[in-house]
């Protein structure tokens, strides 16, 4: 028996908006602790991790561990139908994930579970020279600014500032932000703008973005719900100019 009720439909909506643009299919694992998901995109560029502990939910029951394999596009189509004041209920039956929106009316959708043999990938443990926080909206705006001039973005951090920049054929752009954190090293990596944009769809998950950055290292973007009971994190491989 699995049942999870969430009064804030935006959490699922915003998470899966990002997740569905990264992976086509996903396995959610439910157990008595809560719901989690680990996925790596087909080209091995982006890793995404979602964890919603049972206290995130207004009601949560899961007697036996359960694997829920779904097509993320189908799931997103349904979640898009949620109104912001709707309660969302997740349950399963033989072969379906059942999503119920409770609001002005009770609306119920069934999504067929898919048959995949899936080994949840575990993310690499990396030591980063820097770690800092910036407002999520600032990060998202910077990404859009950079999009005007290039399809690549350089993210860097030094003692004082976090910088996003790009050099394009027709112009350059640079965003600087005084982060006010204790950073002792400089770090810089370049990423595909398109891939960073996919993560930015999760903008309603958290107001703050925690970033770990190194030199030519993957970007670690970590979003935490205010209640501390839910997290969404991403790892994105850098782009490296070879030295030939």
């Amino acid at each position: 028996m699995f049942k999870a009720v969430l009064s804030d439909s935006n959490i699922l909506k915003t998470s899966f908006d990002a997740i569905s643009s990264i992976v086509d299919e996903v396995q959610m694992q439910a157990d008595e602790e809560g719901l989690r998901l680990d996925a790596l995109d087909r080209s091995h560029i982006t890793f995404v991790h979602l964890e919603l502990k049972k206290n995130v939910f207004d009601e949560y029951q899961c007697k036996e561990p359960l694997k829920i394999n779904v097509d993320t596009e189908e799931l997103m189509k349904v979640l898009k139908r949620a109104k912001s004041e709707d309660m969302v209920e997740l349950t399963t039956d033989e072969g379906n994930l059942i999503i119920t929106f409770e609001g002005e009316a009770r609306r119920r959708f069934k999504i067929r579970l898919i048959d995949i043999e899936y080994e949840a990938p575990s993310p690499p443990q990396l030591d980063y020279p820097t770690e800092f926080e910036i407002p999520f909206s600032l990060l998202k705006d910077s990404i859009q600014d950079i999009g005007i001039v290039s399809d690549k973005i350089a993210l860097q951090v030094d003692e004082d500032k976090f910088k996003a920049s790009a050099e394009g054929d027709f112009g350059d752009a640079k965003i600087e932000y005084l982060h006010g954190e204790k950073i002792q090293e400089n770090a810089k990596s370049v990423f595909s703008l398109e891939k960073v944009k996919e993560m930015m769809k999760a903008d309603k998950f958290s107001e703050t973005a925690q970033i770990k950055l190194g030199n030519d290292m993957p970007l670690n973007l970590y979003l935490k719900m205010a209640s501390d009971e839910g997290e969404l994190s991403f790892l994105l491989a850098p782009r490296i100019e070879s030295e030939e």
């Binding site: 086509d24 790596l40 091995h44 560029i45 048959d115 993310p123 054929d169 491989a237 490296i240």
Partner: protein, 274 residues
């Protein structure tokens, strides 16, 4: 002694656990019966493996049009991303195909195996009715690289933009993809004397079409007071194109499209998974 043998066996089991994934990277079976073939297809699909099946079959398509392919021996491919492709023993192109994200299902009916690909937008179904399977194989490969290409007009544009002197000494490139009612001009610039110069780039041998295109761009500047030069830039041009250029007082500049690949290394998270 016994103890020694025991630990030896343990080591073998341990090694096997590591070897198995490599061993199982490719699975292949010849002449499976239809029951078995159905199971193997389901297994390959659920592993999201790249399936290759050689079989005697019929193929039915229904969607934007309707097609039917009678009995014959075919190679059927299902790629890891859901691309579904059927090849006959001739021609470069597949006879039937559906793109990635096709949803596939297997059914066993009246002793025959049905492999069915479904798409919703547009609504279409591609069904293979398999009478006899000769060989099925599937593998789970790792390939995260994308094709790198060079030798296109855009690459020529990049080169000229960076090194305009390659066109002629004193030439300055001032804008790319300049919009005119006739389309976008590849590169516009000024020569040593300050004359407006329009470049039309072709990465292969240019014909009269390219000359006509250049002519149309020049005509957009017919009210320009001073001289406007038109230069066709290509590795070579046909005789009638060269003749037409000369007659209309336009020029030709021979230039090859650069074939150097960008030195961008593709890094994946797997590189950090060590």
């Amino acid at each position: 002694m016994n103890k020694h043998t025991g630990s030896y066996e343990n080591r073998e089991i341990f090694l096997l656990r590591w070897i198995e994934p490599f061993f199982m990277k490719l699975f292949s079976e010849n002449y499976p019966d239809n029951q078995r073939l159905g199971q193997l297809l389901i297994r390959g699909l659920s592993k999201r493996a790249f399936i290759t099946l050689i079989a005697s079959c019929k193929v039915f398509y229904d969607g934007r049009a309707t097609s039917r392919l009678g009995m014959g021996d075919r190679t059927i491919l299902v790629k890891a991303d859901g691309a579904f492709i059927i090849h006959q023993d001739r021609n470069l192109e597949p006879v039937n195909w559906q793109p990635s994200k096709t949803k596939l299902a297997v059914e066993l009916k009246n002793g025959l195996v049905y492999l069915k690909g479904m798409r919703r937008n547009p609504t279409e179904t591609l069904e293979v009715e398999i009478h006899r399977g000769y060989q099925i194989s599937y593998y789970q490969g790792e390939d995260s690289q994308d094709l790198e290409l060079a030798g296109y007009e855009a690459d020529m544009g990049d080169l000229i933009w960076q090194r305009p002197e390659l066109i002629e000494p004193g030439f300055r490139a001032t804008s790319r993809e300049y919009h005119t009612p006739q389309g976008y001009i590849d590169i516009m610039g000024k020569d040593r004397e300050g004359n407006l110069t329009i470049l039309e780039l072709k990465s292969r041998k240019a014909g009269v079409q390219a000359v006509k295109q250049l002519r149309r761009y020049l005509d957009c500047f017919s009210d320009h007071k001073s001289q406007v030069r038109g230069v066709l830039v290509a590795p070579s041009a046909t005789d009638d194109a060269l003749e037409m250029l000369e007659k209309q007082k336009m020029e030709f500049k021979a230039m090859e499209a650069p074939r150097e690949l960008a030195n961008q290394k593709k890094v994946t998270l797997k590189d950090y998974f060590k």
